[in-house]
């Protein structure tokens, strides 16, 4: 493969990582002012900032690789839905508190294993970012896991809501473990792990927690997919309209 083709692959690979982080950062920041308790709201705000920080690291590297003079802000704020590469799971609405917890738990339990692989990347910069990010995600996951246990094994109402959230979001988890040509490229070059190989560990981790929380693992059924190729659900457009409004209305606006 030519060097230019490698660069294109790496750029796409970084966009996927960065878009997951950016969209989750925006999602979690929406809990500010609406959290169940002030303390929980602070936790969500911290997590949101962690994700925005991660997005910056992935995007600034992506911008360097692309070499067309775009900044991390250009990448975050001046792309439309079809150019976003995040998983469909990521863009699903916050919903009630249980749905946010279920979404975060499903993704972050996958992300921890993905980051573990990325921390051994042959690409030094990715390995460094992953080594730093994995500490943040281990803490997020600890927090989310406790909520899964609390709500699942809590009241009848909290159990029902969380089970419903897992059942609803399950259809978006298949995509996390699909390997397409970009993943194959990443595995061949030692850049990142093969998603298909993360599935076993993820299932073990998830099933253990769900069992402890007295929740049922949802039945495997039809899985939705396509976010990484720009085919998104209706939720992403609204989210981007919010997030990108300022840069769209006042191009180049600065603090």
């Amino acid at each position: 493969m030519t060097k230019a083709a490698d660069k294109k692959m790496l750029f796409e690979y970084l966009l996927r990582l960065g878009d997951n982080a950016l969209v989750l950062g925006q999602q979690l920041s929406k809990w500010v002012g609406h959290g169940p308790e002030l303390e929980e709201e602070m936790a969500m705000a911290n997590f949101a900032l962690d994700y925005v920080g991660q997005a910056r690291m992935f995007f600034s590297y992506a911008a360097e690789i692309e070499g067309r003079g775009r900044s991390e802000d250009d990448i975050a704020f001046l792309r439309d839905c079809g150019e976003f590469r995040n998983f469909l799971l990521i863009e699903q609405r916050n919903g009630d508190f249980a749905q946010t917890i279920a979404r975060q738990f499903l993704f972050e339990s996958f992300y921890q294993f993905q980051l573990d692989g990325l921390s051994r990347s042959t690409d030094k910069r990715i390995a460094e970012i992953a080594a730093r990010v994995i500490k943040e995600i281990n803490y997020h996951l600890r927090h989310m896991r406790q909520w899964v246990l609390r709500l699942g094994d809590g009241t009848e109402e909290s159990h029902r809501r969380l089970q419903h959230a897992f059942d609803y979001l399950w259809r978006y988890t298949g995509e996390l473990f699909e390997a397409d040509d970009i993943d194959v490229w990443a595995v061949q070059h030692g850049v990142g792990p093969n998603p298909e190989e993360l599935l076993g560990r993820w299932k073990d981790y998830l099933e253990n927690t769900l069992k402890e929380a007295t929740l049922n693992r949802p039945e495997d059924g039809w899985m939705d997919s396509g976010g990484r190729n720009g085919h998104h659900t209706e939720h992403l457009g609204y989210l981007l309209a919010d997030m990108q409004f300022l840069q769209r209305a006042y191009p180049g606006a600065n603090w």
């Binding site: 303390e39 929980e40 602070m42 911290n46 406790q146 609390r150």
Partner: protein, 95 residues
């Protein structure tokens, strides 16, 4: 549904090894584990600590302000209890 406040916890942070934990404030949490997590997010965001203690506020036994005269004033005129007759060796920072 009635809104029920989570119980209050008092938070103590050790800022670095060798120092003792100091009271930094309080917060609400559903249980002790959550109190630790919330303390981490509220009180150690800028690298303030290496260890956290959380104590349920209801477990704290406090002295009665009405008794402060009996408790504390007798110590006021006993200056010989203060270690002011010793020289503090140089280089001792945390005495």
């Amino acid at each position: 549904m009635t809104k029920q406040d989570w119980p209050l916890y008092e938070i103590f942070i050790r800022s670095r090894s060798g120092l003792s934990h100091r009271h930094v404030g309080s917060l609400h949490a559903a249980d002790a584990q959550m109190a630790l997590d919330h303390a981490r997010d509220l009180y150690t965001r800028r690298g303030e600590g290496v260890s956290i203690w959380a104590v349920a506020s209801r477990d704290i036994v406090a002295s009665d302000p009405a008794e402060s005269a009996a408790l504390f004033e007798p110590a006021e005129d006993k200056i010989y209890r203060h270690p002011t007759f010793y020289e503090v060796p140089e280089g001792v920072e945390n005495l």
